[in-house]
Subunit: 380 residues, 2 copies
């Protein structure tokens, strides 16, 4: 028997009951029942973003949500700083470029987070900057940025801070209001354990003021239309309503479990994986690692494509490779989603076996044993 297991940092594995919830007979979205669900979703999203701001759901990928945030917060007359530490940060700079939004794309070493001191230096060098766009957990490089520290800088300069929290929200600590983030973004297919197809945003009053100050040069991703519909717990365009019912279902469970408990568990899986990586004589990639996904250098002499082919073909496990300059150099394993201790151990076990098959002198058992010790210690 060979089970399929997704270790990709999105899409992640989804609880069976969530899939069945979404397979119920479809109903229409302009009904009282749907409006109740949509209202509850807004309130549950406030919990996961830790905000009293307005939460918006867009039918589209996280990219649609990020585009909505950027184009809304940067009407003519504003200038953005994008901290460029990975493929997703590059995409947000491309949103600015395509819409003709003046911006500075600040190079940041891959594998590291955007530094608050570098953001501060940019503000000092360019008084026109009034918007900062960063990625909290850069999925492509597995690097974490210190959002709280950067928010202190943006607040001091009275700027708007937009944070891509696509592999952060629901996985690692996110405290939008406490930190002073103005727009936080996430997607359905990461820590919220849903199929892809929904983008979520939390928008505070400071950001709404900015959005209201100018004309938004788009229709589908114009946040103003979404806010107007929200007054009636409605949406401006036909929503992916099966996914929305799944979102309510999952977010209720996330709230029941408690975000702090989930954050701890994600961190535990990351810690165990790192211990296993070290025990196998391997190295993790990121200098500032996030806990939602771990990047591992593929050892010399091992072909990354073949390694992942073994993981999938022999063991049913879908791992992610590297993106951009990291293609062929690292593999990535998620700690988000419908994932427990034994999935994590299974991932490490498969990596050991696949490395052996691909010519690495694997100390078989060393990885799973090291991870087990981390789990045993955590369980007390």
């Amino acid at each position: 028997m060979k089970k399929i297991r997704l270790f990709t940092p999105g899409p992640v594995m989804i609880p069976e009951d969530t899939m069945l919830e979404m397979a119920r007979p479809i109903d229409h979205h302009r009904t009282a029942a749907f409006r109740e669900s949509f209202k509850e979703l807004g309130s549950l999203l406030q919990y996961v973003f830790q905000t009293s701001g307005t939460c918006v759901t867009i039918t589209g990928s996280g990219t649609a949500a990020a585009e909505a945030a950027i184009v809304g917060c940067c009407p003519p007359g504003h200038k953005a700083l994008v901290g460029l530490n990975g493929k997703f940060a590059e995409r947000w700079a491309k949103v600015c470029a395509n819409f003709g939004i003046p911006h500075t794309a600040m190079p940041v070493e891959w594998g590291t987070g955007v530094k608050a001191s570098d953001v501060e230096a940019q503000f000092k060098a360019d008084p026109k900057l009034d918007t900062v766009i960063i990625v909290h957990s850069e999925t492509s490089t597995t690097a974490l940025s210190d959002v709280a520290a950067i928010a202190r800088v943006t607040r001091a300069h009275n700027a708007i801070l937009i944070v891509d929290g696509i592999t952060a929200v629901g996985a690692i600590p996110v405290k939008m209001d406490e930190w002073g983030v103005d727009v936080y973004i996430t997607g359905s297919q990461k820590a919220l354990m849903l199929p892809p197809g929904l983008g979520f945003l939390a928008v505070n009053d400071r950001a709404w003021q900015r959005i209201d100050s100018g004309k938004t040069p788009t229709l589908y991703n114009d946040l103003k239309a979404y806010r107007k519909s929200l007054e009636k717990n409605d949406v401006p365009y036909t929503p992916a309503n099966t996914l929305i019912l799944g979102a309510v279902h999952n977010l209720r469970k996330i709230k029941e479990r408690g975000l702090e408990n989930i954050w701890k568990e994600t961190a535990l899986f990351a810690r165990a994986t790192r211990a296993a990586v070290a025990a196998l004589g391997l190295k993790t990639y990121a200098k500032d690692p996030t806990d939602s996904v771990t990047g591992i250098w593929v050892p010399q002499g091992v072909d990354e494509a073949k390694l992942r082919k073994t993981l999938r073909g022999d063991f049913g496990q879908q791992w992610a490779g590297g993106q951009g300059d990291l293609e062929g150099k690292i593999v990535r394993i998620t700690h988000m989603g419908y994932m427990d201790i034994f999935d994590t151990l299974g991932g490490i076990a498969a990596l050991e076996l696949a490395l052996k098959k691909n010519g690495y002198n694997t100390p078989i058992g060393a990885g799973v044993s090291a991870a087990q010790k981390v789990f045993a210690e955590a369980l007390g």
Copy 2:
């Protein structure tokens, strides 16, 4: 027992096996298996659009797809004509307005189709026009436009024709290449019998030339990025992959049944419904009616909101009301989706009973009997 039946012109009822297909364990979209599915989807879409053009799938509503078509085909230097015969046509004019695209919004009497002669007159009056945007089947007014005739005009003027086929494609005759349409658009939650969440476009070479001639001021809905990814049977942003598997599942079945047979059946349901409406002493709304949805004037003395509340509350049937100026004046019943003779009869039966409850002197049985006769005749 009370079953829920959707008679709204989208979302429509969905086959149970489609819902279960989409509830299978999720897999990743960057896999060989997904690329195979995505390739097959492209080919199946060519069949439903009746085109050899490139078919693009966007995760979003039909509005996202329409925005992609409009903004792509109208780079700076071009001017669009929008035939304004309903709420959706108005939305496409708003896309032009929001993106700053020069356009003429041509008023058209609601309930009628856009006339080719009026389009011709606009071209004669304004030589700058080089793009025409029309709605094939205006869901809000239940009116049909003669796309073939309009395409002859746009071709004669060497213009690009964009057609919103959201409640046309897969329901009523659509022959993109034969007619000479340049971009056709549809959505998942109509005749394709899927939940909302995917927009589909078919784009021919003339349209691609136009799209390539300028910079597209958006990222998420930039068709160039989708075409580039299609070269590898891939998508630029994480797709709603459960819905995509459902789309392949349904489109295979649609191809098996044959579009002509489906078009005939949709037309039959529309004809039977119109016969029932007449037999009940009621009137249909549209002067140029589409076969995918029928609008019915609510008789004097009957409260439209209460009528639909009875349909839903007493009989489990979700009907659509009027939109815009038609709010409170008409009800709408779909002939698309997972729908057969007996669903159609059930809709008419519920309408009879709900009209009676709401004070209309209904000739009970006259509607279902008239519809039955149409069905019997068609079956021969």
